[in-house]
């Protein structure tokens, strides 16, 4: 399973989100390959899920991956909930 975490520049905040998502997945016992990237690169990448904010999700519409929205990249509760509701172990 491949997951992308996305922010505008693909450098800092998406990396923080990646670490937090990995932690959430780990707690739930889901194994996944999580990568962080910027929004332009993400639109041309293959993935099963894309996790990003509400604003950026709009420019990723039409992507094959399922888009999961997390607005506060630092809020573990929101991330845990989003992961639980949307991502299933495969």
């Amino acid at each position: 399973m491949k997951i992308l975490t996305v922010c505008g520049l693909g450098q800092g905040t998406s990396l923080i989100l990646k670490m937090n998502v990995e932690q959430a997945l780990g707690d739930m016992g889901i194994r996944a390959d999580v990568e962080h990237t910027d929004v332009s690169t993400a639109s041309s990448m293959n993935a099963d899920y894309i996790i990003t904010s509400n604003e950026l999700a709009e420019s990723l519409q039409g992507h094959k991956a399922k888009i999961v929205i997390v607005n506060n990249y630092f809020d573990m509760d929101e991330i845990n909930e989003a992961v639980k509701a949307n991502i299933e172990a495969s």
Binding site: C7, G8, L9, G10, Q11, G12, T13, L15, I16, K18, M19, E35, H36, T37, D38, V39, S40, T41, S53, E55, L56, E58, S59, N71, N72, Y73, F74
Partner: protein, 431 residues
């Protein structure tokens, strides 16, 4: 003895290999699986080598941008001159930068452990660029400095900066985020503080930027690739049109460089090439920072109880999205004004890199809004472009003209410009 020399040349002398080892160590400490460890280490090494490739692309586009605008302003075409460039600099000093960045982080963790400043700096790509630019300043000031002196000086300076900077911005961060859990770890700290100050003195706090409704059409501002290509494209286009109407030898020479192609089309391609070069460099940085930062975080949280992560500037954006756009608008207007003013006074062609302007001005905008509302946010943006424009001129012309002026034109920014002269002074004092 032979072994030590061998290791010094082939491991410490080869930045990509040294970085590979540091990342390998980090992955082992995190107890990653064998496959993750191998892929992470390889990606770190490849990422570092990609940076040089992308730098070459950026320099090529800049060598068209600079003479183009010099011709527009009728400046005597004095080129950048001979300089090492990011590629050559990485080959010679890349190891010192990599090591200083790692040791600087260690100093940051130690200071956080034993002082009241509990901030751990985790914005990896800025750690890399700040150390790189400062290394360029030291080498420019001190000449052919020894590896160990460069590493020791830089790691102490970086360690102090990474510990103190988040503490300085934290009072405002508490106000913006409403809690004390996260800190700002970014080189936009100085303009954020100046913005907050200006907002306090001249702004109007009651006119909060979050009360206004912004058009949806501004959403593309979130994509750094698009906005870089767009603004550089506009500047190249305007420059190319002016040149097309000129008949001077300089203009003819520029047009001749386009060959069979139409000059305006050629100029537009250059602007996209510039954006492409930045995208390549950022890909490289992402590849190794993505492996390094989680390791850093793992180490820090084990050693420092109650540590607060100091994070990249977009962490403040969700708290005032309108202030982000207002800050950027203030900076964009300022950048255009300064492009003309710098060109006509000191004869410097300012390269308004949108990545630097956007992230710094947006952060400053949020800080300015917190103290001075809409007016505060706009002023903070204008202050940012002022610091970035004049800072770039001083940096490129005086502080690292022989080393990496090419990097300073797109990757150097607010805090670096204000600390650059201090670094130069200290290196002249010590070396």
């Amino acid at each position: 003895m032979d072994i030590i020399i061998w290791i010094a040349t082939n491991v410490f002398g080869e930045a990509a290999i040294l970085l590979g080892f540091i990342v390998l160590l980090g992955l082992v400490l995190q107890k990653k699986s064998a496959s993750q460890t191998v892929s992470g280490t390889f990606k770190a090494i490849i990422g570092f080598l990609i940076i040089s490739a992308g730098s070459g692309v950026i320099v090529n586009a800049l060598t068209v941008f600079e003479p183009l605008w010099k011709e527009v302003f009728n400046l005597s075409a004095e080129p950048l001159g001979e300089f090492m460039g990011q590629e050559g600099f990485n080959a010679k000093y890349g190891s010192a930068v990599t090591l200083a960045m790692t040791l600087g982080f260690v100093i940051n963790v130690i200071l956080a452990r034993f002082t009241k400043l509990k901030y751990i700096y985790l914005t990896g790509h800025m750690m890399f660029w700040t150390t790189t630019i400062f290394a360029g300043v030291v080498v420019q000031a001190a000449g052919d400095i020894s590896f160990s002196k460069l590493v020791i000086f830089l790691s102490i300076f970086m360690g102090l900066y990474w510990t103190i900077q988040p503490a300085l911005t934290q009072p405002f961060m508490r106000k913006i985020t409403g809690n004390d859990n996260i800190a700002l770890g970014h080189t936009s700290a100085s303009v954020a503080l100046l913005g907050a100050l200006a907002g306090k003195v001249l702004g109007n706090k009651d006119n909060d930027s979050e009360k206004i409704k912004l058009p949806k059409g501004l959403e593309f501002l979130r994509d750094s690739n698009v906005i870089t290509a767009l603004t550089m494209g506009l500047l190249f286009l305007v420059g190319a049109i002016i040149i097309s109407f000129k008949d001077t030898p300089g203009a003819q020479e520029l047009i001749a460089a386009a060959g069979d192609k139409n000059f305006i089309i050629y100029a537009i391609i250059q602007s996209f090439t510039f954006a492409a070069g930045i995208a390549v460099v950022l890909l490289g940085v992402r590849m190794f920072i993505g492996e390094m930062v989680p390791a850093f975080k793992g180490i820090a949280t084990k050693i420092v109880p109650g540590a607060k992560p100091a994070l990249d500037s977009p962490i403040v954006f969700p708290y005032a999205p309108n202030a982000v756009i207002l800050g950027f608008l203030g900076a964009f207007v300022g950048a255009l004004i300064w492009l003309v003013v710098l060109g006509n006074t000191v004869g410097y062609v300012f390269v308004p890199t949108m990545i630097v302007l956007f992230f710094h001005a947006a952060t400053a905008g949020v800080f300015g809004n917190a103290t001075g509302g809409v007016r505060g946010a706009l002023m903070a943006g204008f202050i940012t472009s002022t610091v970035v424009a004049w800072g770039q001129f001083i940096m490129v012309k005086m502080l690292l003209s022989d080393t990496i002026p090419d990097t300073a034109m797109w990757a150097a920014d607010s805090d670096m410009f204000l600390l650059g002269p201090i670094i130069r002074f200290l290196s002249q004092l010590f070396f």
